[in-house]
Symmetry: C2
Subunit: 180 residues, 2 copies
């Protein structure tokens, strides 16, 4: 969902104040790369992860082409990955009146969370279906038990994730909107 911003805030990609911070910049690079790797583990393109990292560190929305420059990546990749993240509800596209360009800002994590929760619910359903299909007379007492444990496992996992979502939202400092 594209958001329109009345206030034309300047584009500042996390430059603090003093320009002497080599270590800060290094830390930022590390963080961005770490996010890239981390999200790669979650089946997202590495660039998408880096995008998330960069946007987390950027207090104000970042311009499309700045993303490409800063991440040293083609505009094509930025286009593809921003669209991906936008559809997932992880980032928001921001536009401003009188400005033809697109800006992006982070939309916190819950989008991802729900995705993971869904995965577990799907697995829970699979296990349940299997348990139903199992004949009651079978010698597979162990199997039934195992499936029940598995069902419980996935259920609790999904519930916990839902809980985390609530917990994170509670600690919320800003009134940013939350993705469904």
């Amino acid at each position: 969902m594209t958001v329109s911003e009345p206030t034309p805030a300047p584009d500042r990609p996390a430059e603090p104040s003093a320009a002497a911070d080599h270590s800060l910049h290094a830390a930022e690079e590390r963080f961005i790369e770490a996010m890239g790797l981390a999200h790669e583990e979650d089946r997202l393109p590495r660039i998408a992860g880096r995008l998330i990292g960069l946007l987390i560190l950027s207090p104000d929305p970042v311009r499309f082409d700045h993303l490409a420059e800063r991440l040293r990546v083609s505009r094509a990749s930025i286009s593809t990955n921003t669209r991906l993240l936008e559809n997932m509800g992880v980032i928001q596209r921001v536009t401003r009146p009188g400005d033809r360009r697109d800006y992006f800002r982070i939309n916190e994590e819950p989008g991802l969370l729900l995705r993971i929760a869904d995965r577990y619910r799907t697995r829970q359903a699979s296990a349940e279906e299997m348990k139903q299909a199992l004949p009651p007379n079978a010698g597979g007492e162990v199997v039934v038990e195992r499936l029940e444990r598995l069902i419980r496992f996935y259920a609790i996992l999904a519930d916990s994730l839902q809980y985390v979502l609530g917990a994170v939202a509670d600690g919320e400092g800003n009134s940013g909107s939350r993705s469904a």
Copy 2:
């Protein structure tokens, strides 16, 4: 860790009693495939996931070559993937005195769980490092807040997983060993 079994139980890959159950077999196939897909999402080879599914449905340890037959997959793949899962603590290799062949049984889920929990702790650490590196005077109030939220997010997530582990273990019906 290879386990030695005193009782030479027969190899029965989940055949219930009556042979008339086409639907049961179909359900098993579905379940096995579902586990294959599910675990593929978690960066495991699909065959490894199917292996997990099959072993969940098998009350008794299954012979190496039966795994290959049942899954219609090369012995090489079985070798590779059983070793993988064994190292991860997801399955156990079972041997029997006077039998040169290898059998495998499921070792419930916790191994996987801990892996996931670890992933989140790593990410938490990344976010913490970044927060430390951030100069306190910076204009990035928002960024600090965001990082704190992220840290809390990952922390709660990892903790929840740890909790799930306990909850699943509590419901444990058999006295099977638990992987660290």
